[in-house]
């Protein structure tokens, strides 16, 4: 797929892969050999009928391809962009054994974009109408999927969202250049057209609780509040000015559009030398945002080696292309500040890989005496997120794990509390958009069953 060159990306937030033309998409689709037992479908967390939608593309029937996708995937334009296809569907593609696998993700993106831009299909009518109401807490991938499915099944659905804009991580976390916000807005508008009510700026659990929702109007509640509690390194100097959580840095840049400051009022520190800590997709996003905000040097500090990085290959590749300085096998020890409390540098240690740990990855061990200092004025901590605790703390009878995630039945997403379902990162811990959507979909089916039969 054609892309913007690194030089073209440097100072803007435009999307990088430019997308297929219909002709290119049909050509790529024709590479699919339509396996009888398609392994790619097994590799997809929501089991999209991949050969099915690709067949429709080959026939030039893009609307048909879209219908096939929509049967299992509410947000194909999103998944086509942010799914880790290389470790899911495309990893299983039989062509990949000898050649490049079929570019399933790019085809998915093409179909969704074509449908949005060329066909602009009207929302499907709901399948009948039910007199039951469902509350969805959190307008992220899990909640939006559950809402879409339930609205389709005829339920009256209300989504409660804490922020002023729906989308969850799709709007506050993932940058514009990886997922244009217009796509998310389009999907939200489609939900509204199907009658889904959105209540913004509402933090359920702070005043009204889950019990209040169940007592008042709602027959069932779905909790999709995500992994929104940033982890810090817990090292000295972490509260110096210039040290951000990735959540804060990305929220300022993406949701609040600080990259357009002062046209937009929200400021962000435009550092000259920026260090990002972590090796996941969020770390790559933060590093690449820092780059676009005009930093001269962006370091990505990761304590293991490149092979252990949890980020998608494409994101690591893009970061590399854009000149991010990878400091691998490196661990921060403390932050250093000036007399005014501004971040000046970070002291790091080199690491080497030892024996494998419980995750199967080789455990990094410190190299004695290898201390060195990187001069930085901004540091961004992207080492993960814990589940948001607000619902768990405010809801009696909701079982949680020792990590604070909500315990559910993995098939029905039922929690320990009658009428309450949960899914997405609040259950799994920080994971992927597609897995959250899969959970939202399962929950919607189980909520339908519960509202119909009343059986728990």
């Amino acid at each position: 797929m054609p892309e913007l060159t690194p030089a073209e990306r440097k100072n803007n937030f435009n999307e990088i892969p430019l997308g297929y033309s219909k002709e290119t998409a049909m050509l790529e689709a024709s590479r699919c050999i339509q396996c009888k037992k398609p392994a790619c479908v097994e590799g997809c967390p929501v089991n999209v009928d991949i050969p099915g939608f690709i067949k429709e593309i080959t026939d030039g029937n893009i609307s048909g391809a879209f219908s096939v996708l929509k049967r299992t995937n509410t947000l194909p334009a999103v998944c086509g962009r942010v799914c880790p296809q290389e470790s899911q569907c495309e990893a299983q593609c039989i062509l990949g054994r000898k050649f490049e696998p079929v570019a399933i993700g790019k085809l998915e993106r093409f179909v969704a974009d074509y449908e949005r831009e060329v066909e602009n299909t009207a929302a499907r009518e709901a399948d009948g109408k039910k007199d039951k109401k469902v509350a969805i807490i959190g307008a992220g991938p899990a909640g939006l999927t559950a809402a879409g499915d339930l609205a389709q099944r005829g339920y009256a659905v209300t989504i409660f969202e804490a922020l002023h804009s729906p989308g969850g991580v799709l709007v506050y976390g993932i940058p514009q250049f990886r997922l244009p916000k217009e796509i998310v807005h389009y999907e939200i508008e489609a939900l509204k057209k199907r009658g889904v009510e959105l209540v913004l700026n509402r933090v359920v659990g702070m005043s009204q609780t889950v019990d209040d929702l169940l007592d008042r109007d709602y027959d069932a509640v779905f909790v999709g509040t995500g992994a929104g509690l940033p982890l810090f390194l817990n090292i000295a100097g972490e509260n110096l000015k210039g040290v951000y959580s990735a959540n804060e840095y990305l929220t300022r840049a993406n949701l609040m559009k600080a990259y357009k400051f002062p046209e937009y009022d929200t400021p962000i520190i435009r550092g000259k030398n920026i260090a990002v800590f972590g090796g996941g997709n969020v770390a790559m996003d933060a590093a690449r945002v820092a780059n676009r905000l005009g930093a001269e040097n962006v370091y990505l500090v990761y304590r293991r080696s490149r092979d252990e990085m949890p980020a998608r290959l494409e994101e690591i590749h893009h970061a590399d292309e854009e000149g991010i300085n990878f400091q691998l096998l490196t661990n921060p020890v403390r932050f250093l500040g000036d007399e005014s409390g501004n971040l000046k540098g970070v002291e790091c240690l080199r690491m080497e890989l030892g024996e494998p740990d419980e995750s199967g990855r080789r455990r990094p061990v410190t190299v004695k005496g290898s201390e060195f200092i990187i001069d930085v004025d901004v540091a961004i901590i992207a080492i993960g997120n814990a589940p948001n605790p607000i619902i768990q703390k405010s809801t009696a009878g909701l079982d949680t794990t020792k990590w604070g995630t909500i315990v559910v039945d993995s098939e029905t997403m039922k929690t320990s509390k009658k009428g309450v379902f949960a899914g997405g990162d609040i259950v799994s811990g920080a994971a992927t958009v597609i897995e959250a959507m899969g959970a939202g979909r399962k929950a919607a089916a189980a909520i339908d069953e519960f509202c119909t039969t009343g059986a728990w």
């Binding site: 804490a162 810090f232 509260n239």
Partner: protein, 281 residues
């Protein structure tokens, strides 16, 4: 969208806004705050709720004109709108019958103090209000607090009204005169620090309400982190009230200055836009 019922400058740099926010008015408790965003271009800023009217569905906010958002707020008129109000957020004040409670407010801190003072009175405490301002015309909510307090002491820095003293002086006098069980102190950080230093030795439980920089207000970003008793807490979800004896006030002051440079840029741009009539509001 939240319709503004009234918006007046009660002082040259201090505004009072009454705005529609029925959900907040219904549920808010003393000590809680909201996050507002003026318009699509706006930042999210926290403001403590000074008062609410459940029947009318309105809340009252006091704001010091210090940056671009509060400057824009000051230009809004009755009938205009705020784009977003999220809340009530944060833990409510731990209101109980303690005995004698000294409610200390400095400057605009008197606004968030007001509902706490009232709640403390309603809980059966003897309430002594100590209100401080730089001068007489910068004092707010005096009548309202006098109506609540068993005693209300006013101090001004310049002696233009009440005692010529700081609130700490008035607190010292009060502590010499009678037993104080709990102190609530809200105001400029140096004031809260001075009060906390004074009550540490006699071990008087002291609540302070912190005004950290926030973005989401739900614990998601960690921008509002403060050091409390040596550990990091988030002001938005762990506070905004903390034990004054445990707060690292110096770090708070430092972090509050994070965007000083950017604030100047934003403010200049906004003032310029106003002057040449390009202001989008």
């Amino acid at each position: 969208m939240h319709t503004i019922h009234s918006n007046d400058l009660v002082q040259p740099t201090l505004g009072r806004m009454v705005v529609d926010a029925p959900y907040v008015a219904e549920y808010r408790k003393a000590g809680q705050f909201i996050i507002l965003r003026i318009d699509e271009f706006g930042e999210r800023i926290p403001l403590t709720i000074a008062d609410a009217d459940k029947e009318k569905g309105t809340i009252t906010l006091y704001y010091q004109i210090v940056g671009v958002t509060t400057r824009k707020m000051s230009l809004l008129k009755k009938g205009d709108h705020l784009q977003d109000i999220a809340g009530p957020l944060g833990h409510p004040t731990d209101v109980k019958r303690y005995g004698t409670v000294a409610c200390i407010g400095g400057g605009i801190g008197i606004a968030p103090l007001y509902p706490i003072s009232r709640a403390m009175k309603e809980a059966g405490n003897r309430v002594v209000n100590i209100l401080g301002a730089r001068s007489k015309d910068l004092l707010i909510l005096e009548d309202e607090l006098r109506a609540i307090g068993d005693e209300t002491i006013v101090c001004t820095d310049d002696g233009s009204y009440g005692k010529k003293d700081f609130v700490t002086g008035a607190l010292r006098d009060l502590m010499a005169k009678e037993n104080v069980d709990v102190v609530v102190a809200i105001g400029p950080v140096p004031m809260m620090k001075a009060v906390s230093d004074m009550t540490r030795e006699p071990a008087i439980r002291t609540f302070v309400s912190l005004n950290s920089i926030m973005v989401d207000g739900t614990g998601m970003c960690g921008g509002c982190r403060v050091t409390i008793g040596g550990g990091t807490k988030f002001t938005c979800v762990d506070g905004p009230e903390f034990n004054g004896h445990e707060v690292d006030f110096d770090e708070l002051v430092s972090r509050l200055g994070t965007y000083r440079g950017e604030e100047r840029v934003s403010d200049e741009k906004h003032k310029h836009a106003c002057r040449i009539g390009l202001d989008r509001n």
